[in-house]
């Protein structure tokens, strides 16, 4: 069963086409990397797949369920790591994760597990507003994988993370995690190494879609012209 099956997806914002005629398919365990300049529709695509936005046209099937009719079946199985950490600044890391755990019906032990995994146990009792952005991003990673999602949607996941932190979160959201992943990235060489399929977006339209092996980094930089 394909993890993702998208055909002719379109989403408009007023009279502007945010996404237009996007089609792709991704098998389980594979990684799709989406490139494109700002405003190309990468974040929109991610949010549609996360069920936060409804498709205006086309067919979208995520983990076997079609959107938007069966969005409720998808929700507990997708993890989103976007630009916003989706955490409350006044609460501590532990309180934030506990809250999300309750929302997803996840046991409390998992919160401790993940805080350990992102090396935030020591500072898990301090309000997030006192932490650095890198630390907040680590807690956000923990939140994204708290419910052990089958599909990970990552929007520039390594922003705000230093190389040590990137290594730290690799088992959770990296290639070694074994999950199906969709990554939005601006880093041609680095992300390309992890990709199985590459999608290049320009002004909401797919400019490039093929297996990663057949893509030259130069083509990706072309997208940004």
């Amino acid at each position: 069963m394909a993890a993702l099956q998208v055909e002719g997806l379109a989403r408009h914002y007023g009279e502007r086409e945010a996404l237009s005629d996007v089609s792709l398919s991704l098998a389980e365990g594979q990684t799709l990397v989406v490139f494109g300049p700002n405003g190309a529709g990468k974040t929109t695509l991610l949010r549609v797949l996360a069920t936060l936005l409804r498709p205006h046209a086309g067919q979208v099937r995520v983990l076997g369920s079609s959107l938007p009719q069966q969005a409720w079946a998808v929700r507990g199985r997708v993890g989103l790591l976007g630009h916003e950490p989706l955490l409350y600044r006044e609460l501590t890391a532990r309180e934030n994760l506990r809250f999300h755990a309750r929302l997803h019906g996840v046991a409390e032990e998992r919160v401790h597990e993940l805080l350990e995994a992102v090396a935030m146990s020591a500072r898990g009792g301090e309000p997030l507003r006192t932490l650095s952005r890198g630390m907040v991003q680590r807690v956000a990673v923990a939140r994204a994988v708290l419910h052990d999602p089958a599909l990970l949607l990552l929007d520039e996941p390594h922003s705000n993370l230093d190389p040590a932190a990137i290594e730290l979160v690799a088992p959770l959201i990296g290639a070694g995690s074994g999950r199906t992943r969709v990554i939005c990235s601006h880093d041609p060489t680095g992300a390309l190494a992890e990709a199985d399929v590459v999608l290049g977006l320009r002004a909401g339209r797919p400019a490039l879609l093929r297996a990663a092996g057949a893509v030259d980094p130069v083509e990706i930089t072309e997208l940004y012209r």
């Binding site: 409804r54 409720w72 079946a73 989706l86 929302l103 997803h104 019906g105």
Partner: protein, 249 residues
């Protein structure tokens, strides 16, 4: 309701199935949300103290504006209800701000839960704020401005206030959700809420007025309590039906 939800492209599908699909039940989600609300409020103290202080200050302003040291009957009922209403509006304005600004909506929308849980949790939160507000404001009112003694009128006053609070909580949550993601959120909230709450003010003030009369204080007329109760029920149902549409992006 469920058949309707299934056949129309309602907000992202059937809510009860979501719970059955392995997500936590609505009650525990409401509990989790309430706990979060309480924690945030206790840390920031940005709603309740402000509302209470505002009410007490308003009583003082009324004293000078009306040039009265003691009020009773219609005037007392009016001052009390208007002050509580405006203080409530302060709470309404702040109700969803933390969620809107810190990505709380997305976090909740990604969870496999019934979305009405947020409506229930937020309305209960606002209700709690109003109750605490009244714990401060009503004694302050009795101290500063009220002529007749409050004691004998208290039980019926509490019932009337409870019905009014329910109305403000329901309408307030709906309006707050409408206003928070617009550009003029602080202005639109009150502008939308005030006309919608006029029937509550009518019912509340008319019901309270005989309670606070100097001579021959009487109980509230059942008519007003029924009006408020009916209003609460109707808008409770409407809010429940429409809330999901406000949460989507």
């Amino acid at each position: 309701m469920s058949a309707l939800a299934r056949e129309t492209p309602a907000p992202q599908g059937e809510p009860t199935e979501a719970a059955r699909a392995g997500g936590p039940g609505t009650l525990s989600v409401v509990g989790a949300l309430l706990r979060k609300e309480l924690l945030v409020e206790l840390r920031t103290l940005e709603s309740v103290p402000g509302m209470s202080l505002f009410a007490v200050t308003t009583f003082v302003v009324f004293h000078f504006a009306l040039n009265r040291s003691s009020v009773e009957g219609d005037l007392a009922a009016g001052i009390l209800w208007v002050t509580l209403l405006f203080a409530g509006i302060l709470g309404i304005n702040r109700l969803f701000v933390a969620d809107a600004d810190q990505g709380g909506f997305d976090g909740f929308l990604l969870a496999p839960v019934d979305r009405s849980a947020m409506l229930i949790a937020k309305a209960l939160t606002l209700l709690a704020y109003l109750v605490v507000l009244e714990l401060v404001a009503v004694p302050a009112f009795a101290l500063l401005l009220l002529g007749p003694p409050l004691g004998p009128a208290l039980p019926e006053l509490l019932v009337t206030l409870a019905l009014g609070d329910l109305g403000v909580a329901v309408i307030g949550t709906l309006v707050a959700a409408l206003a928070v993601r617009t550009r003029a959120r602080d202005l639109l909230g009150p502008l939308l809420a005030l006309p919608l709450l006029v029937p509550i003010v009518i019912g509340g003030a008319r019901a309270t007025s005989p309670l606070l009369a100097l001579t021959h204080p009487q109980g509230p007329a059942a008519r007003w309590l029924l009006t408020m109760g009916l209003y609460d029920l109707v808008f409770g149902l409407i809010a429940y039906a429409l809330f999901d549409f406000l949460l989507e992006d």
